[in-house]
């Protein structure tokens, strides 16, 4: 197992006062709290910070930890001294959920692998709820689909030992799910202790970037490049939607930025969302003498100053 440098994790000296430890913890906890932080590794950092604080806030545990000496480095392969007696005591088993093997070894009386036993008769604890993000495609949100997830979760084996287990879950994506929504899977969280109920699994939905569309709630947006003559004269175009291609009229006299609505072509729901086309006029390059002549003729026959009405 790896040695954890709890002082380094909290960014403090080995001789920091209990007050300093608490202040460092509070500051880091606010910064890396998974509900607050947008840092990618917030959850991992938060767990580490919590573990470090749990180890150092109690002077007795801190003393035991200090006795390991200062020669160890964060992440270094660690074996407890042969005569080591876990400082332990005073931990509820649920406290150890999410803490490292190192912590369990030093304070819990043995690593999970070596047999970290709980008396299951004496209490009944509901399993922890688990929270994970899930990235899905817009197509899956539209049609429904499934996705395989790997989850690291604490588990209790038949002998009552805590282990970290990787579970593969095949999750059904409900049709019409939106970005930022959460899906709750009842009983798929961590198992309970002593016959307690399993926790639930909460999945937060994120949409994978799509080459054409983006979603805003149930509405789908598509940026649609058109030529100046299509915009001026109007046209009929074949437009992709998540549900397949549809024909759409571009009205004459359209300008860049104009939004056209395809009613009910967004994500399914009650009511379903719409698809919006955002027009963007692209001018053909004036890369030949003939093209330049054409543009000059336009300038002569269609004198127009788009800046005038805006007073630019």
């Amino acid at each position: 197992m790896e040695y954890k440098d709890y002082y380094k994790i909290l960014g403090i000296d080995r001789n920091a006062s209990q007050g300093e430890i608490k202040r460092a913890y509070k500051k880091l906890a606010r910064k890396y709290h998974p509900d607050v932080s947008k840092e990618a590794d917030a959850e991992t950092r938060f767990k580490e910070i919590n573990e470090a604080y749990h180890a150092l806030k109690d002077p007795q545990k801190r003393k035991a930890y200090d006795e390991l000496g200062s020669r160890w480095k964060q992440g270094q392969e660690f074996h407890p001294p042969p005569d080591w007696e876990a400082a332990g005591g005073g931990f509820r088993p649920e406290d150890l959920h999410g803490f490292s093997d190192f912590f369990a070894e030093i304070f819990g009386g043995g690593s999970p692998e070596r047999g970290f036993h709980f008396e299951q008769r004496n209490f009944r604890v509901r399993g922890q709820d688990l929270h994970a993000a899930i990235e899905i495609s817009l197509e899956d949100a539209f049609h429904g689909g499934s996705r395989t997830l790997s989850l690291q979760a604490p588990d209790i084996d038949e002998q009552g030992r805590v282990t970290q287990r990787t579970r593969q879950l095949n999750v059904q994506i409900p049709k019409g799910v939106r970005e930022g929504q959460q899906i709750r899977l009842s009983g798929q969280g961590a198992p309970g202790l002593g016959g307690g109920q399993a926790g639930d699994l909460y999945l937060e939905v994120k949409f994978a970037p799509h080459p054409l569309f983006h979603a805003d709630g149930r509405d789908i947006f598509l940026e649609l490049p058109i030529t100046p003559w299509e915009a001026a004269l109007g046209t009929r175009l074949d437009i992709p939607t998540l549900g397949g291609r549809v024909e759409m009229n571009i009205p004459p006299g359209s300008q860049s930025g104009r939004k056209l609505r395809l009613k009910g072509r967004g994500l399914p729901g009650n009511p379903p969302g719409d698809q919006f086309l955002v027009l963007r006029i692209e001018t053909p390059p004036a890369d030949s003498e003939e093209a330049r002549a054409l543009y000059r003729r336009m300038a002569d026959t269609l004198p127009y100053n788009p800046r005038k009405k805006r007073g630019i």
């Binding site: 906890a29 509900d35 395989t148 799910v177 930022g180």
Partner: protein, 107 residues
């Protein structure tokens, strides 16, 4: 040590969900009193007048779970939780709008 498991379709936590006070407390393993306190703090907004008639939506469950984590992990009191949640939700909204704007005006 992995095993593959097919699990039933989940429940989307949106406005279609209807949860009673008891459901809310049970799903988060808290006392109903904690849920009631968050209603009086204005964090949770159930439909219905009396606590026994309250119906909570999916968003309320998400808020309750968040409130609980903030309270336990950061030792924030209830008014502090209410303020943090409000600011966090505003921040998320602004971030979403920023993403939309950045798509329309890249670079």
């Amino acid at each position: 040590m992995g095993e593959k498991q097919m699990i039933p379709i989940g429940e989307i936590l949106d406005e279609r969900i209807e949860l009673t006070l008891h459901d809310m407390a049970q799903r988060c393993s808290v006392e109903t009193g904690f849920v009631v306190a968050l209603v009086y703090e204005g964090v949770l907004e159930p439909r219905g007048d009396q606590p026994e008639e309250w119906h909570f939506g999916g968003q309320d469950l998400i808020r309750l779970r968040r409130a609980l984590r903030l309270q336990q992990d950061l030792e924030v009191n209830l008014p502090g939780v209410a303020l943090a949640l409000e600011l966090l939700e505003e921040l998320e909204e602004l971030r979403a709008r920023l993403r939309t704007l950045e798509r329309h005006f890249p670079g």
